[in-house]
């Protein structure tokens, strides 16, 4: 599926998509949180881009580790330690692989979700980024088991993440800022789920366009 250079390209594209959607993400967070998710993610991914520009990565694991550290250090909100941990767990899952295939991709999404669960003491159904990420890797697993090719797996992940994010509208927030609102969080999409869907969508789009 991808070597180091393509992974760098994919992350760069994800960063661009986040930047394009900064306003949108901030509006989602303004409705049920503190209105900074777009700012947080834009800032975090601008440092990811800086990291990507600096280069010098030994392995995909190294790339994910350095990108995760950029998020951890510069996001400033809950999404910092959460996406940061996700990237670091992805890095650990990759060990010293020099390229990754579609199975690796699904494994690192799963590892990322485990990291978020651990860091956020959270689980599916609490109206968080997990509600995009978990259905996404599950759809990927299904696609893999059906023998789908890499592009199909990536598209399945993208579609399921998007649906998962939209479906957070039906959930009552149990974690993070929006949990202060209780029932009033219904009808609104979780910003972290939305950004997760954007990132996974950007990755799929990048490889589709290669």
């Amino acid at each position: 599926m991808a070597e180091l250079n393509q992974l760098i390209g994919a992350l760069n594209h994800a960063a661009d998509v986040i930047e394009e959607n900064k306003q949108h993400l901030t509006e989602l967070d303004g409705a049920i949180g503190d209105g900074d998710h777009g700012i947080n993610m834009s800032r975090g991914f601008s440092f990811v881009k800086k990291t990507l520009d600096e280069g010098g990565f030994q392995t995909p694991a190294d790339l994910f580790k350095k990108s995760g550290m950029a998020l951890v250090a510069h996001v400033g909100g809950a999404s910092g330690p959460l996406f940061g941990t996700a990237f670091l767990r992805a890095s650990m899952a990759l060990k010293d692989k020099t390229e990754i295939n579609s199975e690796d991709y699904i494994s690192i999404l799963k590892a990322a979700a485990e990291g978020i669960k651990m860091r956020g003491k959270s689980q599916a159904g609490e109206k968080t980024m997990l509600d995009a990420l978990i259905p996404a890797y599950e759809a990927g697993e299904t696609a893999l088991s059906q023998g789908k090719d890499t592009q199909e797996v990536l598209q399945a992940v993208k579609a399921a993440a998007r649906t998962g994010a939209t479906d957070t509208e039906k959930l009552v927030a149990k974690k993070g800022r929006s949990s202060y609102l209780g029932e009033r969080s219904l009808g609104h999409q979780d910003p972290g789920a939305a950004s997760t869907a954007l990132i996974l969508g950007a990755i799929a789009d990048y490889f589709a366009a290669l």
Binding site: D36, V72, A73, G76, A78, P81, G84, G176
Partner: protein, 128 residues
């Protein structure tokens, strides 16, 4: 003396707590991590790590935080700590009230365990 670290989304809140507590306890080692690295409302793992570093000793460090996401960043800071993180503990306690009690206690040379006992009744279940 036990080091006290105050982690908040707001720089003003931690500065205010420190001012208030210092009136009652001049000597306790207190370090602040308030706001993001670009001074917005939020928390910053680098600030947290260096605050812990500043007040670290074998007597230990207690870390107070305002809200759940500050806790996550504090945990993250512990994961990457250069110092012995077994001596550093993030506590679930009312922020202002717990911090003031702990700062006064530290100034009285109380141990980590004694301080934790004094703030045990201020638990709020704040960890996410």
């Amino acid at each position: 003396m036990v080091g006290i670290v105050l982690v908040s989304h707001s720089r003003k809140i931690v500065e205010g707590i420190k001012e208030l507590a210092s009136q009652m306890s001049k000597d306790a080692p207190v370090a602040l991590a308030g706001g993001t690295d670009d001074d917005r409302l939020g928390t910053d793992i680098t600030k947290i790590s260096s605050a812990i570093h500043d007040v670290y000793s074998d007597d230990g460090v207690l870390v107070f935080f305002d809200m759940g996401s500050a806790y996550m960043n504090a945990q993250m800071a512990l994961d990457f700590l250069e110092e012995d993180s077994s001596k550093v503990e993030i506590v679930d306690a009312a922020f202002v009230e717990g911090a003031i009690t702990a700062i006064v206690d530290s100034g009285l040379n109380k141990s980590m365990d004694e301080i934790k006992a004094d703030i045990a009744s201020m638990k709020l279940g704040k960890m996410p």
